[in-house]
Symmetry: C2
Amino acid sequence: MKPKLTLKKIAKELDVSISTVSKALRDSPEIGEETREKIKAFAKHYNYKPNNIALSLKNRKTKTIGIIIPEIVHHFFTTVISGVEKVANEMGYNVLVCLSDNSFDKEVLNMEMLANGSTDGFILSLAKETMQKGDYHHLIEAINQGMPLVLFDRVVEDISCDKVIIDDVTGGKKAVQYLVDIGCKKIALISTVDYVSVGKLRTKGYKDALEENGISVNEDLILKIEEMEDSEAEIEQFLKEKDIDGVFAVNEHFAISAIKTIQEQGKKVPDDVSVIGFTDGELSKRFIPSLTTVSQHGMRIGEESARLLIEKLERTPSEEEYYKTIIVETGLVTRNSTKLKK
Amino acid sequence: MKPKLTLKKIAKELDVSISTVSKALRDSPEIGEETREKIKAFAKHYNYKPNNIALSLKNRKTKTIGIIIPEIVHHFFTTVISGVEKVANEMGYNVLVCLSDNSFDKEVLNMEMLANGSTDGFILSLAKETMQKGDYHHLIEAINQGMPLVLFDRVVEDISCDKVIIDDVTGGKKAVQYLVDIGCKKIALISTVDYVSVGKLRTKGYKDALEENGISVNEDLILKIEEMEDSEAEIEQFLKEKDIDGVFAVNEHFAISAIKTIQEQGKKVPDDVSVIGFTDGELSKRFIPSLTTVSQHGMRIGEESARLLIEKLERTPSEEEYYKTIIVETGLVTRNSTKLKK
DNA sequence: TTGTACGCGTTATCAT
DNA sequence: ATGATAACGCGTACAA
């Protein structure tokens, strides 16, 4: 096991000073042709690479960005990471991934852990618990310390920072409008509790679309789910004996549970009931019937977030402070869980 | 924006020396009660946290572990990350996630990027291209530089390092034995090309199980898929007019494509053909019919990998070198894609 | 009880 | 053309 090569060792080996080596390797014209070539040849041969940690300390920059997500076992977040990673790598950054497990405490802990020099900035989607509590002191603290922050997907208005979101209201509207267009009259909504921003917004889209089409909103047809765990049972309970011809579910799991329940009741999807989900999951594509969904474009969200963050990081500090919110458009992907009513 | 607090600033503020502050904060008995309390109070009030980068440089340890995976949009890898992250955090480590996109070049690049001080060690599942090429110089180099390496899932024998794998042969055997037990006689295998270690091993399991049951292996019933992209079409082609009553697929995507094809041919799963997959994907659980699978326990693989790596990292260097291979048992999860033949 | 000096690996600035 | 020195933030052996 050979320990890592350092400037010092090269200097000693070649019997020159450390700074000569440093300069030679950075092609400084201060160094004579001959020595420069000699040093570069040596470094190349023994595969010298400068130590990132030392550079970080010196430059006060880590070239690392931290991303904290509520849970990784979610296709959407996973595509976001993929997008972040792609852009980050192109720009010479590493990506530190942390999971909050939807816990406020873990989110705070993770941020503190990374804020002490491990990372130059954050990309973050809030834990459910954090949104519920409404306690964002850790975000504010990071910003105050001069660490740029980009929120995505589960964002919160009170915090001044860059944001990348999809237009959940419009997305929800698109979905419901589509259901209306294909002839659905009695459309149920399966959403999450309101403190999860996306649930609230998509619910608004649902209501807006109905109203625009002159259909009155029936609260009886709206289900708000608190825990993923019990969702299947709740949905079954909810749909029992409901007279509906369309379902808009705010994620793919709810959509699939709905389809299962509907089928168990002897009704057919999409012939009797059309179902629409909200996601980009693999599940939607592969499920039978494959799901019509509002697509979230997680990859693009990740890319935009990374770009936004790196832009902030590399901006000269003199420039004026300003924040952007980027809205990534949703698309409607029609598959086999919806069908035109005759 | 207040810049980060450092020892130096505290020292200046309180008019003591830097080392006094350092010692006081670390509860050194060298420092007088009074000064110590004063310093600690100050530090606490202004929320002092030591700078990780400086510590890393000093200790030559980053307390960060790098994990490189072929692709993140794969439920299995995602659960592995989850497991790694869990154990790492418990032990005070951060996790740097990089993606190789199954590309050899990107894998090498990622390793070089992280090897220059960003990380204390690696957890890695090889890119498909790397296994195909058989070029492992980057792994060897990392090991030579004293960076511990843990390979998981897609491992390779030639490299001396810790490994965490599932018993693919036994897993494959279990699957096929189960098919035999429920009365299947003509069992097809849908696998990957042989240079992907898991494909090869699961194929061996398939053959072993057949032979142990006195069923001769028919190469006509074996399909080896090169590209995920074309898998669906290939599977359709392959299964066309094959007379089979069971399918063992080495991942869930293949299994699902098989089910679709079989259904399109007017046959029923599981009544006419039983299908078994290999994974822990969400898809398997939610698909209709839900899939009987050999479960891989990605979470546990991640946990074991992290434990193994951290153990190496914290071992005193005097201790003797030795490597472990941990085999995580597979389990068989019976769901609705298999059925006893009458 | 407190402070000084040094080193981790690097670069920038200032001497020689 | 080359080298010495300081600095980034921290901890620690040693000196006062």
